[in-house]
């Protein structure tokens, strides 16, 4: 589904990604772990197409197409979803209006008819149950005045609504207490399926206790320095990131 080859990327002239290669197949959940500054969020933003991230070398193929040539909205319509580490507040735009605009843009691209108000509300209600979200939030401006947990639940709600093929979760666990983490993880797990791939970016092993990955990759200084199964996350938790860094040649 996704093939990343030797990806190099700069942010404000600094090279952050220094040759990442990663292949993700349908139905797989990959965890990308790494210390602060290792390039985890940069990878997520490059995949989603954020401006200001300059790819200097390498390629990303998504379902056989050149992902890097697509603007962000086209990536979303083609089935890529980024759950933001810091969801953005949008004053004056109601959550309902936003969700409906997004859903209909994606549906249109997929050759599906737009949902009418009744069907839309039915779908939202169903998906809100998944993340135990308060319906009152739907009439509020997007993320404005939401708690940290509500914002992250709203991300997973959007993911459930947009039905992506590849979801990238950027530190979805950050800033969550244990109850919110459990709810968010349950929502994500409910969306796992043989057709859907996920890249779960996290600093801590904690989240991976709830969302059990098929593969774990460790990112350090813009490269994947170690890959393994889910047990790699536990080993990292025990030994710390310094263990990986010590194993590097020249360290």
């Amino acid at each position: 589904m996704l093939v990343i080859k030797n990806l190099h990327a700069n942010v404000a002239g600094n090279e952050i990604l220094r040759g990442i290669s990663l292949t993700v197949g349908a139905g797989e959940v990959h965890a990308v772990m790494g210390p602060n500054g290792s390039g985890k969020s940069t990878l997520a933003n490059v995949l989603a197409g954020r401006e200001g991230y300059q790819v200097t070398e390498g390629a990303v193929l998504y379902q056989g197409k050149d992902l890097l040539k697509m603007p962000p909205e086209e990536r979303a319509r083609e089935g890529i979803f980024l759950a933001f580490q810091y969801p953005v507040e949008i004053p004056g735009v109601s959550t309902t209006y936003f969700l409906k605009a997004a859903l209909n843009a994606v549906r249109k691209h997929r050759g599906l008819p737009e949902l009418d108000a009744m069907d839309f509300l039915g779908l939202v209600k169903e998906k809100m149950r998944l993340v135990e979200m308060d319906q009152a939030l739907m009439n509020r401006p997007v993320n404005e005045g939401f708690s940290g947990g509500e914002k992250k639940r709203n991300e997973i709600l959007q993911m459930a609504m947009l039905d992506p093929k590849l979801a990238v979760l950027d530190e979805t666990d950050s800033g969550l207490d244990i109850d919110a983490l459990r709810i968010v993880a349950a929502g994500v797990n409910a969306l796992r399926g043989p057709e859907r791939a996920m890249i779960v970016i996290t600093h801590y092993q904690r989240l991976l206790g709830y969302i059990v990955p098929d593969y774990v990759h460790v990112l350090s200084e813009g490269r994947i320095v170690k890959s393994g199964g889910k047990e790699l996350a536990l080993e990292l938790e025990e030994k710390g990131y310094s263990w990986i860094e010590e194993q590097q040649p020249g360290a």
Binding site: G49, E73, V88, A101, V106
Partner: protein, 448 residues
């Protein structure tokens, strides 16, 4: 025409107009003394220039370039045929429609109103020498050195006259709709409205300005409102004339003790639009709110000029104006709050926020406080910014295309001004107009 030629031109038109008034059949053979006073003031003061501090950011040269003759009136049948399906933005059962500044009885339905309430044509009231008009008309909108107000006062023929006697509350808004249409060449009309609320009365009035077609015309309107003791007046002005039109409007409000006045001014149209709102808090405990939204694209120029005079103690004023400018449009906000010496415990807050959608768009913002009393609470602020890039990426990452995302963010920005409109004034329909306008200007990046 330069200012001298233009002045001569308008004085000559006035001479024609005066001759016509002298004939018995003239629809507006009234107000002679007021007219002659106003035209002599115009003859002395002339048009404002950019060296005039109050007109610093707006050149009226494009208006003076066109020899505007007074717009002709049309017979009712012809009007109905021409108007076709034009959306007047007002309910059929409660509106007064003015075509080229004159009441169209065919298109108007006087609202069902409590006894003693008047909502009709100013011309009709003047023809019957209504004393309520005589005691208020042209007493507030100063034409001493305001050329456009002087011209309106000299040339006025018709407009809305709304009178609400003491203690009467009108729930439904009264709609005044002004439609400009071209009848042989570029025309000017001078709508004149008078709103008088006696002690304890409450009303809301919606003024809507429209063009029938994309043609060159000029509207120079004046509204005077007298808000008596303990009264409440809500005034809504929707300016959505065509992008070829010129519009200069003045709203003069006199507020009595413990009265409340709210203005919503939405400027969406016109090649050159200038809205002056002048509020005098002349009784203790008055409360004035001015909300404004201006949206301009292409080469539109919209100038908002407000002045709030805190004359008496314990008055409050709140002002929020927001502008969205795309293309090569220009916006102006010039708001003055003047706290007089006697106006202790004045509480004034003024905010102006602008969103620029293109490189070519421009705004001049000039919030001003002039305070002559130490015991007051006053603040003002203005901002100019672009669309938030993080928010734009967030929306695009959810599949919403760039221009739709921009339009959505812009609507969010404008939304809180529109949200302040009362439901009964047709907020939902106005929201649609605002959305259409924002979508229209969002795609224009100003490259020419």
């Amino acid at each position: 025409m330069d200012v001298i030629e233009a002045k001569k031109f308008y004085l000559a038109r006035y001479a024609d107009f005066e001759r016509a008034l002298a004939t018995a059949a003239a629809p507006a053979a009234w107000g002679g003394a007021i007219r002659s006073g106003a035209i002599s003031r115009f003859a002395a003061a002339g048009f404002p220039g950019v060296r005039d501090e109050e007109w610093k950011y707006t050149s009226i040269a494009p208006i003076l370039d066109v020899p505007f003759n007074p717009a002709r009136s049309l017979g009712d049948g012809l009007v109905r045929e021409r108007l076709g399906q034009l959306d007047l933005g007002a309910p059929v059962e409660n509106r007064l429609v003015f075509i080229n500044g004159r009441l169209s009885s065919e298109l108007s339905t006087a609202p069902r109103l409590p006894a003693g309430v008047e909502a009709g044509s100013l011309a009709a009231a003047m023809r019957r020498s209504d004393a309520r008009v005589a005691s208020h008309l042209a007493r507030y909108a100063n034409y001493d050195n305001q050329g456009f107000v002087a011209l309106n006062t000299a040339f006025m023929e018709d407009g809305g006259f709304i009178f609400v006697p003491a203690g009467v509350v009108i729930e439904e808004p009264i709609h005044l709709v002004f439609v400009a249409l071209s009848a042989d060449g570029a025309g000017v009309c001078y709508p004149r409205n008078l709103i008088v609320l006696e002690r304890g009365a409450e009303a809301s009035v919606v003024e809507t300005y429209l063009s029938l077609e994309r043609s060159l015309h000029f509207t120079n309107g004046v509204t005077e409102a007298v808000v008596g003791e303990n009264c409440r007046l809500e005034h809504i002005k929707i300016q959505r004339e065509s992008e070829e039109a010129f519009h200069i409007g003045t709203l003069q409000v006199q507020m009595g003790r413990s009265s409340r006045f709210t203005s919503h001014s939405l400027a969406l149209g016109g090649a050159l639009t200038r809205n002056d709102i002048d509020v005098a808090l002349e009784g203790e405990g008055g409360d004035c709110t001015l909300n404004g939204l201006y949206i301009a694209g292409g080469r539109q120029h919209i100038d908002n000029h407000t002045r709030i005079d805190h004359v008496k103690p314990h008055c409050a004023s709140r002002e929020l104006y927001k502008g969205v400018l795309g293309g090569r449009a220009r916006g102006v906000f010039n708001g003055k709050i003047y706290v007089h010496k006697a106006a202790e415990k004045s509480d004034a807050k003024q905010t102006n926020k602008n969103l620029l959608l293109s490189e070519g768009a421009w705004v001049d913002t000039k919030p001003q406080l002039e305070i002559h009393n130490n015991d007051v609470k006053c603040s003002h602020g203005s901002t100019i910014g672009q669309v938030d890039q993080d928010a734009l990426f967030y929306l695009r990452s959810r599949g919403i295309g760039r221009s739709a995302a921009c339009a959505l963010l812009t609507q969010g920005f404008a939304g809180d001004v529109v949200a302040r409109l009362p439901d009964a004034a047709g907020r939902a329909a106005i929201e649609d107009r605002v959305r259409e306008r924002l979508e229209a200007i969002s795609g224009d990046n100003g490259a020419s």
